[in-house]
């Protein structure tokens, strides 16, 4: 948008006009958060949602700072904020979502070759294809670098055998970015980063049912899967560096650094104190009747505010530079704690009404709270568990050494 010569007000006017003209009327009535949840659960989008995705995708505004040559918006960080603000102003969600946007795209832009960027980035910008992440394995969770899925060089192609677990959305994804073992004699230096077409023969996906009753994750099996050699990203055995970078992007998005939509998902939109007054009642001064609950709710609200202020501070400090730093490790632990505390408090406030699983006798909000509480337990496990985050802070930020006995 260089033709605006840095005139941000003119740009804002243009964006606002475009939003007004292009945001489908049907979507204005819907609950955006609900639509996003449905999208994440793999439910097919409505025609209006598809149209909105297509329009934003063509403009490149779903990924406003990505280079224009690959289908991104090509905007400055300041202009990107304008797009985000104007989208928020009319209550619209960014329809370009998913792992391709949050993690894989930014990583490929840094580490991919020209052909790979040309092949994959445009479809991510348009939201046409879904990506899943093939990182964790049954035997490699927090100790990710111990992964064992084999990738053998067969001359004109690679052959992949092994299995991945917790592959979010694998049942809906067309592509998988995957960590594979290309050298069994080394640990970190024997890992490569490869892209697998999920339609390849030998790929099998089995959804895993979780405590929340949902199946957002899958087990994915690779049996003699042939992968073209050009699908290797970065150097052979150089995948760990790329993976670490990708995990930084993941932490950033999981902690709410990815924007308002993620924050709403995590913290909910309603007011917890009003809910407490409804369920628990008020005392003669109009306060939440249960003093102990009131004080813990207050503590939670203050924690949430402190976290929000920290997100704002980090955004101001980075002055629009979108690259996440090591400080994102702090945000993940702090943000997920706030989210889980809120879910626990919500359930406690609802009392026995916060125990419903399905069916009559419970409102959809109450049922949703139960599922959300259970589903949210994953937030301190995935994307590097709370304990792994603490390790990262200790080592990378505070400079504390590894134990003498551990070789990692």
């Amino acid at each position: 948008m260089a033709d605006f010569g840095g005139d941000i007000d003119a740009f804002r006017t243009e964006v606002r006009d475009w939003m007004e003209a292009n945001y489908p009327a049907e979507l204005r009535k819907e609950d955006g958060g609900q639509a996003m949840t449905e999208a994440m659960m793999g439910m097919p989008p409505s025609a209006a949602a598809k149209l909105w995705r297509q329009r934003v995708g063509e403009k490149g505004w779903g990924v406003p700072t990505w280079p224009k040559q690959y289908g991104g918006g090509g905007l400055s960080p300041a202009e990107a904020r304008v797009v985000q603000q104007e989208m928020g102003r009319i209550g619209a969600n960014n329809p370009i979502q998913g792992m391709g946007v949050m993690m894989f795209g930014p990583t490929l832009l840094e580490y991919g070759n020209e052909a790979q960027k040309q092949q994959h980035i445009p479809s991510i910008c348009k939201g046409e294809l879904q990506w899943c992440q093939g990182f964790s394995e049954p035997g490699a969770g927090s100790d990710l670098a111990s992964l064992a899925t084999r990738c053998e060089d067969k001359g004109d192609h690679y052959l992949i055998n092994g299995s991945k677990i917790w592959t979010s959305g694998a049942q809906f994804a067309q592509w998988c970015f995957c960590l594979v073992r290309t050298d069994t004699t080394k640990k970190h230096e024997g890992i490569s980063f490869i892209l697998i077409d999920m339609a390849s023969p030998g790929v099998e996906v089995r959804p895993i049912q979780l405590i929340s009753g949902n199946s957002p994750f899958c087990e994915t099996f690779f049996t003699d899967v042939k992968v073209p050699k050009e699908n290797l990203v970065g150097p052979l055995n150089g995948g760990w560096t790329i993976a670490k970078r990708l995990l930084q992007f993941e932490r950033n998005s999981l902690s709410g650094g990815g924007g308002g939509a993620a924050m709403r998902m995590m913290f909910g939109a309603g007011s917890l104190d009003a809910m407490a007054k409804t369920y628990v009642g008020t005392d003669e001064k109009g306060r939440i009747a249960d003093g102990d609950l009131r004080s813990r709710l207050t503590q939670h609200m203050m924690d949430a505010k402190a976290f929000t202020l920290t997100l704002m501070r980090a955004a101001a400090e980075s002055k629009g530079n979108a690259s996440p730093s090591a400080a994102t490790s702090i945000m993940k632990n702090a943000g997920t704690k706030v989210g889980q505390d809120r879910a626990e408090l919500t359930l406690e406030i609802m009392g026995s009404q916060g125990l419903g699983w399905e069916g009559e006798g419970f409102s959809s909000e109450e049922l949703g709270a139960v599922r959300g509480w259970l589903g949210g337990k994953a937030t301190t496990i995935y994307g590097g568990s709370q304990e792994i985050q603490s390790n990262i802070i200790s080592k990378r930020i505070l400079g504390l050494p590894d134990p003498a006995s551990a070789q990692h």
Binding site: T298, M312, A334, S390, S394, D402, A404
Partner: protein, 375 residues
């Protein structure tokens, strides 16, 4: 760290240099060991005034630089790092704020220039019991001639012995617990009817209990409507104190972190043990969250935004919790050496509790946050 202007960065850098060179923790220790009667080193305070620190929030017309609360907070963070004791907070921030916000032209002209130059030490006299509870003011003020006559007692008056001027909350009507009927007064600390008793505190700083027996007070602001002025003044003082606490907490943490990297047990530095690493990571996280709150509160004061009370209570409570944790961990992680008077850990621990209590502790500010938000 907040995004700073060039002037603010320079101010912070010069404060850091002066504090590290002229006022390290050893200077505080020396002051303590010398039984300094005022609980601070007047020569060091004179140097601070010389550098303009006592005039940072005072308008230029009254001898200050009107540089704002975030700027003064940057200085307090640096002095907090080394536990530098001085009336910078109580006089140049707290009492000065009361006069700037509520003073008449005559009062401003009379007092602000000497506060800015460091010649006059002023302080707030608000609390009357063991807990911060400004609305419980009972000290009475009755009209007498052209002024007022004050009778009652004030506790835990910071720099009470050094002060030449007291900003006193008093009741001109109503009863303790009501916010209506509170008025603020300027009282000469060495005036007739004022008697002061020095307190020896664990943190070695200066404080006094003050008794008023028909002491002469000069009304500051409006009679009976002083509550808002008092709250605004206290919020400024609390935010400044939180900045000082941030500095103390950061230094306590860094000193502890350094120790984790050098102390060897079981053939390895203790910082390699995960049990300590994760506690260090928690402290670091809390420090980052606290900094966001403190800077937001100071910035809100400079912007005169409506959410100052909410942000200040958040900052004071969050910072209090964090300093509490870090000061405890400083002693614990240092082990036996942390229990010795020769080590600095005890100095930080003692200062932590005093600062937490001052202008309202965590419980007070959590409750206030809940009241403000209608929970």
């Amino acid at each position: 760290m907040a995004v700073l202007s060039e002037e603010q960065s320079m101010l912070r850098d010069s404060a850091r240099t002066w504090v590290q060179e002229k006022s390290p923790v050893t200077a505080f220790r020396k002051m303590r060991d010398s039984n300094a009667p005022l609980g601070y080193d007047p020569a060091a305070f004179a140097e601070m005034a010389e550098m303009g620190w006592t005039g940072v929030i005072i308008p230029e017309a009254y001898g200050g630089s009107e540089f704002g609360y975030l700027s003064l907070g940057l200085i307090l963070e640096e002095t907090g790092r080394t536990l530098t004791a001085s009336p910078l907070l109580s006089s140049a921030l707290a009492a000065a704020s009361a006069i700037i916000l509520g003073g008449s032209e005559v009062q401003k002209s009379e007092y602000l220039p000497s506060i800015a130059s460091g010649e006059l030490v002023a302080t707030l006299a608000v609390d009357e019991g063991a807990h911060h509870a400004p609305e419980k003011t009972a000290l009475s003020a009755k009209k007498s001639g052209s002024g007022y006559s004050l009778t009652g007692t004030k506790t835990f008056v910071l720099e009470g012995m050094a002060a030449g001027l007291l900003v006193v909350s008093a009741r001109t009507s109503g009863k303790a617990g009501e916010t209506d009927g509170i008025s603020l007064f300027l009282v000469k600390a060495d005036g007739k009817g004022v008697s002061r008793k020095a307190l020896k505190l664990a943190d070695s700083r200066g404080a006094a209990n003050v008794a008023f027996d028909g002491a002469e007070g000069q009304l500051l602001g409006e009679e009976g409507k002083g509550w808002l002025l008092l709250e605004k003044t206290l919020d400024r003082a609390r935010a400044g104190l939180a900045a000082e606490m941030l500095g103390a907490a950061i230094q306590a943490f860094e000193t502890t972190l350094d120790y984790l990297k050098v102390r060897v047990q079981f053939g390895q530095v203790i910082g390699s043990f995960q049990a300590l690493q994760h506690r260090a990571a928690k402290m670091f996280t809390d420090l980052e969250l606290s900094r966001s709150c403190v800077e937001a509160a100071l910035q809100a004061i400079d912007d005169d935004s409506a959410d100052v009370p909410e942000l200040v209570s958040l900052a004071k409570a969050k910072m209090g919790d964090t300093l509490h944790l870090v000061s405890n961990e400083m002693v614990q992680m240092h082990g036996g050496i942390g229990m010795t008077d020769a080590h600095d850990a005890g100095l930080y621990l003692k200062r932590a509790r005093a600062a937490e209590t001052t202008y309202g502790g965590q419980a007070y500010h959590r409750d206030r946050y809940a009241r403000i938000n209608g929970y």
